[in-house]
Symmetry: C2
């Protein structure tokens, strides 16, 4: 296998092939086939997202994939931001369609043409909905599995509120939801307030959750947007308030995508393959029966262990493939990132124990089946350790600089510096080294002199981004 | 509410609106918005399907929605069957695409261009995969929610086998899977071998699962197809057999759609609204606390009942909406088809009981909380009764005729008759009354004289179809 540290891109592509996560040999470049193992992991990620938003009274819906040109054009800034990336349906059968239909690049314009039908009075607010669907972008840039594709597995939450204040409360709630999701996926991140020129088309402001890939390049893995009344005014989304006055709603959105999987693969994996957080591992513990004397009994004993694990809600499986050595199986499951391996031979059977091997630190532990509950703790421990390692890696690759001449030139890192927020100063940094402004760090009131112009600035992040 | 028996179409549309299953006011006719309650029911149906195929070693995948024109045109019969119904993407941004891309009408051509990459030897067979996705048809006919739409929620299983015999075994396995799904949904059906002119484009033969809607019209709710080597020869899907010879695989497919939901709505509902099988009811038991003296204690007691129900895996909720009378709530949940209502007032609280009311027969039962497990049995009983009622309705609306002059002319029914299988005789029946041949009944070797020409025939079904 490729060396992850030295050849990250090659390592990343190789592990996606080896672990059979997705197949990029489909006839359309950038549209990949989700293979069973990759899809299972993504579904477990989806379920974490779903649990967290359901918990906050969001309701799941599903909108059509097609959006008419006139729906899209209702918000001018918005369509302008996407127009070069839209796939257009222009024919039905052999007929030319009267109106061109877009494959959704995102669903504001689909949803907000329905909101006026659903929202009448303040009693209908807040409206909080989400969907998990595919969205489409006619990417002209180089595509990369789970990072930049043309058919994107996408989560989008949309809300409408009585006023800006309530929309701002929603923005805070998103932060809580996000931190809980990121914790489950063991992912480190910064919250960056995107510069005005890089916010979502149509938004008042955009906050992004950015993580760092081992290549030293930044990866945006989530965004939340405050729209204020911007879309409401264009789509005419009004409600009757308590006094009987018609008012525009204020709106927000929250977006996540399959990039969460890209981050999990890239950040946690090692030169042996994937390492999955237990929270999203389709198999959390793989049982390998070791051939030898009384193998039949060993298999029965393995079955018993399997059902004990299922009883305590551990996702476990037995690898009973014939014609494969235990050694082959060890490598195979290590490559697929399973947190714990359980080896069972006649020794274990006779002593009523199992041998547990950690994917992360390779430590072997022989535990009595009376203590099988410990497997749960070991899975939690696995996730904790992954989280620590991941945050540590991000910190080690973040460099604070107070002098533009001290920028590390030889490798990609996250650069932290004071910045006045101007385009000119950001461009100056970009000229010095190929990095762009991710934005100022959210909720940090740490101020200092802009590293470029010396004017008052705030602590900000710069990086080369995916 | 409309009278279901007399105005079925109006009743059907009305209940979909009232129960908020989907919203058809979206900007594109025939592309509807799945609302939370409808989506929840559909997801529960999907899970039943998933459990049943996972159980038979199918693996879930997800293919791109777009298919190139050349992928589609590889199988001539197949494209011919769909060409008038395909939505074509012809532009990306403002550029004209080099090759036109179809929104999948079904996924044979997407999947079978990948199969040659996945199948090398007999060890890779059987290959059994499925996906649950949306498919697209540019319908020119009148659209109808969940029955005929332009964006269809779709399940499709695809298999490849070493030979025809093994593919035929797969066809039998599909029957088992289907009967288990239909049982869960309490749906009656016939298995009809479609006439040659009505089989799936590219198939050797098609077996359809047809049910009867209360309108007297037949509804196809599932199909399985034997492809033999037809697609394999066009897509060049070959494998090395045990002797090292290259052979074509044999293939089959199994398709289901949101029509399952249409059947559930239409067949089980009554003039009060939906009646959902417990197996797919998002809320199986709704708890209504009755206001009165010591209401706070009644609410606490209701909470206790709720957690008891959750402990025995009953999907239960408390309707604690203020400003609504119990009577309003009863009607509301009846309309939404919840199998059991649990009324809790101070009387119930003081006697440590609950009052359970059945949606189906309105019977009231006061049971001790010590017997709360009985709720499970009552839910099973509910599904059994629904199943009996549904099969009875289909039988009562099926008419066997042995004389073409005895066809009931005033209403739509399922017509059972001996038929020689020829197009001419089927057309003769169609001319007499607007019915078409659904096909001969599968696995029935009951033979007799064709009702039209008198030649040897087999027992067959005719109906007006959706």
């Amino acid at each position: 296998m490729e060396n992850k540290k030295e050849n990250f891109s090659e390592w990343y592509n190789e592990i996606i092939d080896l672990a059979k996560l997705s197949d990029k040999r489909y006839a359309i470049k950038g549209m990949n086939v989700w293979l069973p193992y990759g899809l299972k992991i993504m579904r477990l990620i989806d379920n974490i997202i779903r649990d967290n938003v359901d918990n906050k009274s969001f309701q799941e819906v599903s909108f059509p994939v097609l959006i008419t040109r006139s729906q899209l054009e209702t918000e001018f800034e918005h369509i302008k931001g996407f127009e070069n990336e839209i796939y257009w349906v222009t024919k039905g059968g052999s007929e030319k369609l009267d109106i061109e239909l877009a494959l959704r690049p995102t669903s504001e314009s689909a949803m907000y043409t329905m909101f006026p039908l659903w929202i009448r009075s303040h009693q209908d607010l807040p409206l909080k909905i989400y969907q998990i669907v595919s969205v489409y972008r006619y990417e002209t840039k180089h595509t990369r599995s789970f990072i930049r594709v043309r058919e994107i597995h996408f989560f989008e939450a949309h809300t409408a509120h009585v006023d800006y204040e309530d929309a701002e409360r929603q923005m805070s709630e998103y932060m809580d939801i996000w931190s809980s999701i990121a914790e489950k996926l063991c992912l480190p991140y910064n919250i960056d307030m995107r510069p005005d020129w890089d916010k979502f088309p149509g938004a008042k402001y955009t906050l992004a959750f950015d993580t760092l890939m081992p290549s030293g390049r930044s990866l945006q893995i989530g965004t939340i947007h405050e729209y204020g009344e911007n879309f409401a005014r264009n789509y005419d989304i009004k409600y009757l308030d308590i006094n009987g006055d018609l008012k525009y709603v204020s709106q927000t959105t929250f977006g996540l995508s399959e990039r969460l999987l890209a981050a999990v693969i890239g950040i946690h994996g090692d030169d042996t393959g994937l390492i999955l957080p237990a929270s999203i591992a389709p198999v959390q513990a793989i049982i390998i029966p070791i051939p030898g004397k009384s193998f039949k009994e060993v298999l029965d004993y393995s079955g018993k262990i399997l059902s004990m694990l299922k009883d305590i809600n551990v996702r476990a499986e037995i690898d009973s493939r014939e014609n494969y050595t235990p050694g082959y199986k060890y490598n195979d499951w290590e490559m697929r990132g399973v947190p714990l391996r359980i080896e069972i031979g006649s020794r274990e059977m006779e002593s009523s124990t199992v041998t547990v091997v950690s994917r992360l630190n390779k430590k072997r532990l022989n535990i009595s089946i009376k203590e099988i509950n410990n497997i749960k703790n070991m899975l939690n421990e696995h996730d904790k350790q992954l989280t620590l390692n991941a945050w540590k890696m991000m910190e080690e690759n973040t460099v604070f600089i107070d002098d533009i001449n001290n920028i590390p030139m030889n490798k990609d890192v996250l650069i932290k510096a004071y910045w006045c927020g101007s385009r000119e100063c950001s461009d100056a940094l970009e000229q010095k080294k190929d990095v762009t402004a991710l934005g100022t760090l959210y909720n940090l009131n740490d101020s200092g002199k802009c590293i470029v112009c010396g004017n008052p600035g705030r602590l900000s992040m710069f990086a080369r981004s995916y």
